[in-house]
Symmetry: D2
């Protein structure tokens, strides 16, 4: 049992709130939102061997069945029986207390703030994207979309040694933040074409979810390039078959993440990734609606945090 101290607002939360659905998930009854959460253990279950009450934790919001073939193979994010916070029918973390599986409540060291502990969840999305893209030392990376996910992808790519990381978006405030966080180039997608980058990317971390951008970005890839489709929203993506074949491009989707918390904690603790920089506002639980609509209302919003204990 966790006393919730900080919960990030994800685009999916805002989308559920505004539209009552997200892709194939349609809300048919009220749902508590919020799945980027940190807090403190206030009670443990029967049979707990190690005392954990009082421990600060970051919550990994998806709990798989642990014993299906996908789970046993280490791909627990693809478990068909996954129960995920704030995804129907499972209530989320915009709450004062929440019960979670002990193995998915990751202890957090002192140097990581409550907000950053909550944002280990979106950081995990970025770590997973970089793993799928095999970003490594000297990689040349293009990130399309500079929202919270694009910005964590940027930070993880840099932490992995990528030496060219370009970020494109239509929002100048976000591009400015990308530059401050270390992007080697930022592109205003309203005026610049991705092909004008000057170097063909080896890895595309696609965080816009906008089909025309996806297609254009894939076309910009270098031989043996890899496209990782992180951004959701589009229905269909059009691939240029000849380019995919002649350059042997690899296109892959990502679905959440697996085995990322230890890496996320290590990166933040070591100062390689700065999550606090992404926080643009905090809200008490009774103002959760403002938190959910902040990014729609203000272009400068990157990440709103709900703080239930205020």
């Amino acid at each position: 049992m966790i006393r919730v101290d900080a919960v990030g607002v994800c685009g999916s939360d805002s989308h559920y709130y505004q539209h009552g659905r997200l892709g194939r998930f349609v809300l048919e009854q009220p749902l508590v939102l919020g799945h980027e959460a940190s807090g403190v253990v206030v009670q443990t279950g029967v049979g707990t061997l190690v005392p954990r009450v009082g421990q600060r934790v970051s919550i990994e919001p998806g709990v798989p069945d642990l014993s299906c073939p996908q789970c046993l193979a280490g791909r627990y994010n693809l478990c068909p029986a996954m129960r995920f916070l704030a995804t129907p029918p499972v209530d989320g973390a915009f709450a004062e207390l929440i019960a979670v599986h002990a193995a998915f409540a990751h202890p957090v060291p002192e140097g990581i703030s409550d907000n950053a502990a909550a944002l280990l969840e979106p950081l995990s999305v970025g770590i997973w994207a970089c793993r799928k893209g095999r970003v490594t030392a000297g990689s040349r990376v293009l990130i399309t979309g500079a929202g919270p996910i694009g910005l964590v992808c940027l930070q993880v790519a840099l932490a992995l040694g990528a030496t060219e990381v370009a970020v494109s978006d239509v929002n100048p405030a976000r591009l400015a933040l990308a530059q401050q966080l270390g992007a080697s180039a930022v592109l205003d997608a309203r005026t610049t074409r991705l092909g004008d980058l000057g170097w063909p990317p080896q890895v595309l971390l696609e965080c816009s979810g906008y089909p025309p951008v996806i297609s254009e970005a894939i076309r910009a890839l270098d031989r043996a390039g890899r496209a990782v489709l992180v951004g959701m929203g589009g229905e269909e993506v059009t691939l240029p078959l000849a380019a995919v074949q002649e350059r042997e491009l690899e296109v892959t989707g990502t679905f959440r993440y697996a085995n990322t918390w230890p890496t996320a904690i290590a990166l933040v603790e070591a100062g390689r990734v700065d999550l606090d920089r992404l926080v643009t506002g905090t809200y008490p639980l009774e103002r959760v609606e403002q938190a959910l609509t902040a990014s729609r209302r203000e272009q400068a919003t990157v990440k709103a945090i709900v703080v239930p204990q205020t």
Copy 2:
């Protein structure tokens, strides 16, 4: 210098002959076709250390520059300076003699026929596709298209231990041959939907090049499935974004092959792959036109071979 003994007719040869172009390659002057060739060494260059005259060889038709970053990294098939037989401006192997790079004339053991030695080239396409698809023991594989490439993919997948290999096509003669070669299921694409297979494939080896088939086949893939796009012809392929993401599908193109001849020779010599079964007709050099049009004229044609020394 090789005395050419057998040259397979590839679909690309027939396409060049009929249309005068293939994708972005347009013929502006006469071109000798043929790139699946075997023969005997009749002369070697200055500085050859090992005597090779009289040696039977299979010709790997693409010679890269060997020293660009792609070559040095072992991806020589992606070399921008590749010179490939029967691809403008390089003449091909429908000829009595042909000069080739010594390292790309692979010695062939006795047990492999001249025809099979020529067909190590399409076999290489199948080996490369199976490597990209990471086919292994127990894999469940779907192959769309039962032409020569689909049929070598089938044989290689079985040789790698795949235990379910379904093949779809619209040509009953080819499906019958697929069944004889060990396919665990054959699907008449005119009457059966790929989703009705009964098991979701882990690997798709797409050999039709027909965009609607590609999209349907990708949709049929299992979680963590891999689609390898081998078949050429289509302009654009439509990917279902949500499926690619939720199942973390991986889609990749193939462009020829790299480092496949040793594997191809070993598989044929050990009897794991039967290339002679694919030969449906042989033609002397003066009847090369009939060879080039055989598959258009007769549905039962799988692989026509030109035999220059008759």
Copy 3:
């Protein structure tokens, strides 16, 4: 709850019986041995969703905690909290009934015999070894030791497309069986040196556990070769440092297996691996002692099976 129908005798069972210990595991109280087991489900637990009573199953004998970092990463064989049949303090399967975790009781298709279903366990050891060694089409493999593990390694290597598989042992009966099962060469280790093989192996599957053999076999490896140390028994292995460096050899140990049952079932069902050929004797439960000592008494013994329901 499983009614046990067949249990293979493993070398570790015989070793425990004779010596009262195995490596660092020392028996301090009686232990039921046997961990290669098949049977029929006779009862299921509360909360079972799918009816399984009457189902034939093969038992995967190690049950990990499923939620530690090793388990979540898909390496559940390295789980520190693993409970494994016939390893103190967990009793084994030389019994009429045994209770197992539902996810580790794998349904077995009709075409697989009870004995073969039991022997999916040693087959899993062979599958795991071949995975670690990255055996694939055209691989040249050396297997040192032709006991049950060496013989399943042989069969799996062939099923994966290895085209040269040499097997060495000191027991002529076992070498003869290796030859019947498809080994391309057999070496009598008393009279032949591994370096005289004629081709340098790319993969060594070491199943003898005898340090001098291990060192000699590693020295025989080709550039970029891989040595997989499966056989137990030795204390220390001596590596030739210069050879390991100049050829960039890779040496790895294996500990049991993970995610192998689906592959094992598929290979046996498809007839790619024949486990029944390994059975050299069956024994009722009251003659388990004879089963445990069979390999010590008779050189021709490969695999003894205990059949509790006779």
Copy 4:
């Protein structure tokens, strides 16, 4: 043709100078030493397409035959026909001019000094070691030996996102430098045992070449740990068989490097690795003997550089 501007002194140069041999290579006639070199192109060969005279370059000292199976597979460092500077019978770079293969003279951007351009060679050793060890974000790494190779391993591991990197050595000056370069822990090997690190390393980058250290360090590895044996010198290494098996440790040697220069250049240009910090002295060509003996004479020597044009 390169005008040589800077050449690093490697331990192998000093060893050849003092002992007249290095492992199996014995000097039977005079040999010019030096293989870590940078300079400026002063002349190009017939057939050069791109003008390069005047270009600053870093020399990759090993030129393989480019067309053997190892080269074609991207493992050109394992080419049996490799010709390597300062390895008999090939003269090295302690010279005013040197002729090299154009593809192995890598253009160097302005921001990289002559000294650093020469030291891209040892940096490549570190990059290769980290690749073999699969060092990545959040890795816990132990480096044994803080000579020039250990120190570049340290910097590369950090650049790849490793968050715990401990370095052990017996030389306090080198440990102090390791700490300045970002090591999270330094261990005086004379007084501290590797097992006392507090965390089990996932990756060992062994740079001492001293067999007792190698064995002790391997024993300290975590489950699924990887040991990369970089340091030369020992004859035989003793592996603890049970630990290698129960933890599924992977032990691999490295031999030089392949495809590392682009990464090395990118890391230095981006400021992720600082090679100038390693330079402890420069010497004109006539004082090459002092350069070769510097590390023997002064404990504070890390890397001596010969500057032929002074």
